[in-house]
Symmetry: C2
Subunit: 158 residues, 2 copies
């Protein structure tokens, strides 16, 4: 005899609300879920694997529509293995780009944290403008160069 999980069980275990699970189903992400005679969703043990995959794709920034495409391939079995590989490989590339961008932002934010602390010590957000050029910290020069590029419309190459 097979054990089934109700939508509430799945919600409690995965932290995805029952509302959201039904929304995902409506959007075609959960077509693999069985139904009882009366129409209730019956999640099986094996269903947690594709459900987990959905959460990974979501957290990787993939939109619902594209996840649906993936699930459509999933339902077709072995003949779509290659297509699914391609989708994951593309997503891998997207993740690398997202991480690189956030790391770039982190560098700027780190600088800003440092700069605000320096400015706070001196009680003046523009303190460096009153210093002789040779006493201005190189980090400030570098940041100002970035802002100048932004103003001049300089496009950064990859």
């Amino acid at each position: 005899m097979k054990k089934y999980y109700t939508i509430g069980d799945v919600a409690a275990r995965t932290g995805i609300s029952a509302h959201t699970l039904r929304y995902y189903d409506k959007e075609g992400l959960l077509s693999f879920v069985e139904r009882s005679e009366s129409g209730k969703r019956l999640f099986k043990k094996e269903d947690f694997e594709p459900l987990y995959t959905i959460t990974v794709l979501k957290k990787s920034g993939m939109p619902i529509k594209k996840i649906r495409e993936f699930m459509t391939l999933y339902l077709q079995g072995n003949k779509t293995i290659h297509d699914r590989y391609v989708m994951f490989n593309d997503q891998r590339q997207s993740l690398l780009e997202q991480i690189a961008e956030l790391e770039d932002m982190l560098k700027i934010v780190d600088y800003k944290c440092w700069y605000f602390q320096e400015a706070e010590k001196r009680g003046d957000i523009n303190y460096y403008q009153k210093l002789p050029a040779e006493e201005v910290d190189p980090r400030i020069i570098e940041f100002n160069k970035i802002v100048d590029d932004f103003r001049e419309g300089v496009i950064k190459e990859d």
Copy 2:
């Protein structure tokens, strides 16, 4: 005599559309921008610094409302340096968490890419289930453990 940039100039230089710039203004992000007699926005050279800061906060995942809070502090000058430091420091933490999460996802996606390639070679998405336990790659065992935890509602500690 002072040089001004029109909204179109700024759009062309920064890649932010004029529509979006007006939207940002309406949302209170661009209160520092001067206006001409006739109501046209006049961007100054110095305005590109806060505008750049806005783009950094945006790309860091900060919502418009919170960026507005930051700009409100910005307009108040030196007395808000500490508060602005705190906001950037919080954003720094948020960025570290976002990067950590994406790196976790990258690990899973890397695994999936590898697994789909193995499955494609064998023409069977569940090939490992037909292998004797000792021949199953440890990466597969590990991934299945993650899925089991997901099903059992195991919460990962930080």
